[in-house]
């Protein structure tokens, strides 16, 4: 099972190293990890994608909660918005392919951000499945470079991750 986990952390030196180290040490399979600041000073937010059964998920959450700088952990089992940004550089051998590629990109609502004689860079946002499908659609033309940010997620509605009550602490 694929799980998207959000982690609210104090923005202190070494936090990311701690989290990445913990995940690796405990042998959890991590698919992606994205980090960024929040609107609140001193707080960052991490989106983690892990695969495993419920037991694995429970352990990931509990182990993350043991870290002193981790304020809150949640997994997005509830309705949520999930997005990933990808930059995809595709080889363009000739005119004919260029048209085909543009058609595909339009279907995926990918934006062209760079055009060269033999390549195009597309920018695409969407859930991970969409990004995956776009990449697969481009593969036959020749993928030159792919850069994905990893998934980020927010719960729909009023539900938010915030400071206060970390239920399960060490």
């Amino acid at each position: 099972m694929r799980h998207v986990v959000s982690v609210l952390v104090q923005d202190k030196p070494g936090v990311l190293q701690r989290i990445a180290g913990l995940i690796a040490r405990r042998g959890f399979n991590i698919e992606s990890l994205a980090v960024g600041r929040t609107h609140q000073e001193g707080l960052s937010r991490i989106s983690l994608v892990v695969t495993g059964d419920d037991r694995v998920l429970e352990q990931v959450e509990k182990q993350l909660n043991r870290l002193i700088e981790v304020i809150k952990v949640t997994d997005h089992s509830e309705p949520h918005v999930e997005r990933e940004l990808a930059l995809v550089k595709v080889a363009v051998p000739g005119m004919e392919e260029r048209l085909e590629i543009k058609d595909i990109a339009e279907a995926f609502r990918a934006r062209i951000v760079d055009v060269a004689r033999k390549s195009i860079i597309f920018e695409l946002t969407g859930d991970s499945v969409k990004v995956h499908n776009f990449i697969e659609a481009m593969r036959p033309y020749g993928l030159m470079e792919v850069m994905r940010t990893g998934a980020v997620a927010l719960s729909r509605g009023e539900q938010v991750l915030k400071v206060r009550e970390k239920k399960a602490a060490v």
């Binding site: 952390v9 104090q10 030196p13 070494g14 190293q17 701690r18 180290g21 040490r25 037991r55 429970e58 352990q59 509990k62 182990q63 909660n65 043991r66 870290l67 002193i68 700088e69 981790v70 304020i71 809150k72 400071v163 206060r164 009550e165 970390k166 239920k167 399960a168 602490a169 060490v170």
Partner: protein
């Protein structure tokens, strides 16, 4: 006042009276400040000795143990001891010096990435970059180390921070929004636990190292319910070893009664333990008849990590045990006791007397002579298991050994820490000839502070535990475990440090030797030349289950038949 003096002042404010450590260039400002501080510093001969001593100090006293070291090599020598403290959940604060901030990251002399390296071996670590943060960080370090599930915390202080002028306040507020240990167990869960116990026909109470501070509550609960009690290696002493409800420790070298009781139990109440594989054996075959496992632990991450739990209770062992005791009823388990008693009577820990000296009888003799009134430490190996089997611990915090990491060499430094934490009390280190040699330089520390520790080496001339495995599982191919040809004369070695040394090889003189050791006013080392091919039994082979238990030494049966 400079940062260094502020560190010591902040430690003083935490109630610290004793620090273990070893100086060096980058921690020198703090050692300089120590010169004017009321805090007592114990100079060890290796930083590993210091962190182990601080660990034992913490465990024997219930306070926080403190160790100090210089940057790079000094700090790195703490790593094993920090992991040892982490695995056995001990409140230790390590203060390390570091190179000046301007040199960090330049591969400067004696620089190492101490925070990076110690991240996995500490509960948390800090690097202080601003002198003003000293009081707050020290306060947070102590708070983190000693609350929730205790553990080691490292505070790294670059030299320039120690030298910077400090004028701040020591009245600080701890600000850790992500750290809120749950102290009180959920009342509904405790109620459910009590209900499950009332329905149980074959219940057992397992007690771990996390319940060492909950002894009185555990005894109250156990006596009210009449439940059989099984303390783990780390839990020994939390429930009295001479109590009639005590079944002995479980696991690889546990008692037959404890292992069979767990195997047959329908309900297990586990308080303050983490189901280590030395306790469970193969998890899928652990406690196969237990439909209800109730797990009480202050660390939620331990609950359900290895063993499926029907009733989880997150909370402090002392608090939860008190609540359980309040609501407990006498259980009707006479039939179960009949069965348990039969196992216990038929298979006690025992040994067959031989013409030669044996470890078991040495430990037993010390237990008898002291009435069990001692703080006992050990190294790691057969002698450790024999001590756990044959010394009956009646008091909490009286058995200090390395359970989780199994660190050879802890015996002597643990004894040093215990002696400083509990002045006036008898401290005995039952050590192995292999383990002892890993940290024997701390004899100098014993001498320097005239610590009256009794060191009893169970000298079998082998890395005995490894030899036992080779004996049982590697066709007796004794690869690289023989020590006798090159062991020092331990008694003479002690004498070389100015410590009384004795050697015992004649079992007829055992009682006399025990008396001599106990009556000697000051430190003494007794080198016991025990039989070289003794085995620890019972034994559940690694990865096995209770059903695979080897109850008696198979070698002995074969040899008797020869």
């Amino acid at each position: 006042m400079n940062g260094a003096a502020a560190i010591l002042k902040a430690l003083e404010r935490q109630g610290v009276t004793t620090i273990f450590g070893h100086p060096g260039g980058t921690i020198m400002p703090t050692y300089d400040a120590l010169y004017d501080s009321p805090i007592r510093h114990i100079l060890v001969r290796h930083e590993q000795g210091g962190v182990h001593a601080a660990t034992a100090y913490a465990r024997a006293s219930g306070k926080v143990g403190v160790v100090m070291a210089t940057s790079g090599p000094g700090a790195l020598n703490l790593v094993t001891g920090l992991q040892d403290a982490l695995m056995d959940s001990t409140a230790v604060v390590a203060i390390t010096g570091n190179v000046p901030q301007a040199l960090i990251g330049t591969d400067a002399f004696q620089e190492a990435d101490v925070c990076g390296i110690t991240q996995p071996v500490t509960k948390h670590n800090f690097q202080i970059r601003d002198v003003g943060d000293i009081p707050r960080v020290i306060a947070e370090a102590f708070y983190i180390a000693s609350t929730g599930r205790p553990g080691p915390v490292l505070v790294d202080v670059p030299k320039d921070v120690q030298l910077a002028p400090f004028s701040g306040s020591f009245d600080v507020e701890i600000n850790l929004p992500g750290y809120r240990p749950t102290f009180r167990g959920h009342p509904r869960q405790i109620e459910r636990a009590l209900e499950a116990l009332e329905r149980a026909k074959k219940p057992v109470l397992m007690v771990g190292g996390g319940a060492q501070h909950a002894s009185a509550e555990l005894i109250a609960f156990a006596e009210k319910t009449g439940i059989p009690v099984i303390p783990t290696l780390m839990g020994l002493g939390a429930f009295p070893g001479t109590h009639r409800q005590f079944l002995g420790m479980p696991g690889m070298h546990g008692s037959v009664a404890a292992n069979w009781a767990i195997h047959n139990a329908d309900t297990i109440l586990a308080i303050g333990l983490r189901f280590d594989d030395r306790v469970t054996g193969k998890v899928s075959r652990f406690a196969p008849n237990a439909h209800t496992i109730i797990h009480v632990d202050i660390d939620p991450a331990e609950i359900g990590k290895l063993v499926s739990t029907a009733i989880p209770v997150v909370g402090d062992a002392k608090w939860v045990a008190a609540e359980l005791a309040k609501g407990a009823k006498k259980l009707s388990i006479a039939e179960w006791w009949q069965q348990v008693d039969e196992w216990r009577t038929k298979h006690p820990f025992s040994w067959n007397p031989k013409p030669y000296l044996q470890s078991q009888e040495v430990i037993h003799a010390f237990w008898e002579a002291t009435g069990g009134k001692a703080v006992v430490t050990s190294g790691v190996g057969q002698h450790q298991m024999f001590t756990a089997q044959f010394f009956k611990f009646d008091q909490p915090r009286s058995w200090i050994n390395s359970g989780g990491l199994g660190t050879m060499g802890v015996g002597l430094p643990f004894a040093i820490g215990a002696a400083l934490a509990r002045p006036g009390e008898l401290v005995i280190d039952f050590d192995g000839d292999g383990s002892f040699q890993m940290t024997l330089q701390e004899l100098a520390t014993v001498k320097k502070y005239n610590l009256p520790v009794k060191i009893v080496i169970l000298n079998n001339g082998f890395l005995g535990m490894v030899r036992q495995w080779q004996d049982l599982f590697h066709a007796r191919r004794y690869s690289e475990v023989y020590l006798a040809d090159s062991n020092p004369d331990f008694a003479k070695l002690a004498e070389a440090y100015g410590i009384k040394g004795l050697t015992l090889s004649d079992r007829g003189k055992l009682a006399e030797a025990v008396q001599e050791v106990l009556e000697h006013d000051g430190p003494v080392l007794l080198d016991c030349r025990v039989h070289h091919e003794e085995g620890v039994f019972p034994m559940i082979p690694s990865g096995g289950a209770a059903e695979d238990m080897i109850i008696e030494n198979p070698r002995e049966a074969v040899e008797a038949g020869d």
